[in-house]
Symmetry: C2
Subunit: 187 residues, 2 copies
């Protein structure tokens, strides 16, 4: 939802949820909405890519998609602009306790992130270990460092603790991941 | 489609089409693919936003969307990174001969473009007059200048000729719109 100039939105819904019940995607949606409303950054989740096979038109105004399939995304799910910089990231949850399986991220998405960084963009991962309700920011540099040096099919939770930064859960914004871009650069 | 490192793609399909038969979206798709393969820029069209109401699972591997609707996009259709800069644009065709109706662009999308420019991104429109097979690059600045000074519901073709830049149809890339960002800055 976009709001007309000058109209501030109340984040009552967000507060009610407290620390419970919202998944990572919902947390990022309210965070990005906060960033946009506060004019901090313009970041959106991309729509889920699907291939449409059949559309019915029951009336002139209506179009109903009656046959479609999910397709594999070529890019990460989130991108936008922050302080004039191109931002690009993928966000994933895992119920695994000791590591994050790399099979959760498509090869296309990893390649996309690599290229974004080569082109001067800011690329990173946000990974949540749902068993611990821990959410980590992992810079693209730290991610690719892991991929290049470790021959493993999953990233240990300890690597996130060591090379990433845990994102605290707040109210407004709920997951202040943009703040960690600077923190990460100072590491 | 992404191609592994070192494998160059042949643009035979594109050449075959010549000047006929491809619509603006297809032209931009092959152009962006060229930009990516040549490592000039990483720009994608966002998937069409839809709201999914029902998904069937005929087998463990299959997911078929059987009821979904198109939803109004909050953002423009295209974004990405070029020379470290955030790029964002909307592309539209019109069959009108004398002007481009502003009703073709949602209010949300106009507001989005305005904010992208405020945040230091490069925002613009690409508009094709299909009757003449003319495609124009119109900078965000020229677009908002028109909106602020003219109380009209459409942008005359003459405004595109005067304040925009016509994009020639080429082979590789097919519509070299990124080149016009610099040409436009020198205007």
């Amino acid at each position: 939802m976009k709001y007309p100039n000058g109209i501030k939105r109340e984040y009552q819904n967000v507060i009610t949820y407290g620390n419970r019940g919202m998944n990572l995607e919902e947390d990022l949606n309210v965070t990005n909405e906060f960033y946009r409303d506060a004019n901090i950054a313009i970041i959106y989740k991309k729509p889920t890519p699907i291939v449409i096979h059949k559309v019915d038109f029951p009336s002139r105004k209506d179009a109903i998609i009656t046959d479609a399939r999910f397709s594999i995304p070529s890019t990460t799910d989130y991108n936008g602009i922050y302080r004039g910089k191109y931002i690009d990231f993928e966000a994933k949850e895992t119920s695994h306790k000791t590591s994050f399986p790399l099979s959760n991220i498509h090869a296309h998405q990893i390649e996309h992130l690599r290229r974004i960084i080569e082109h001067g963009g800011i690329g990173f991962l946000i990974v949540r270990f749902t068993s611990f309700q821990e959410t980590y920011f992992l810079s693209g540099q730290a991610f690719f460092h892991f991929l290049e040096t470790k021959e493993r099919k999953s990233i240990p939770r300890s690597y996130f603790q060591q090379a990433g930064i845990q994102i605290p859960i707040g109210l407004r914004p709920r997951l202040d991941y943009l703040k960690l871009i600077e923190v990460n650069n100072e590491k």
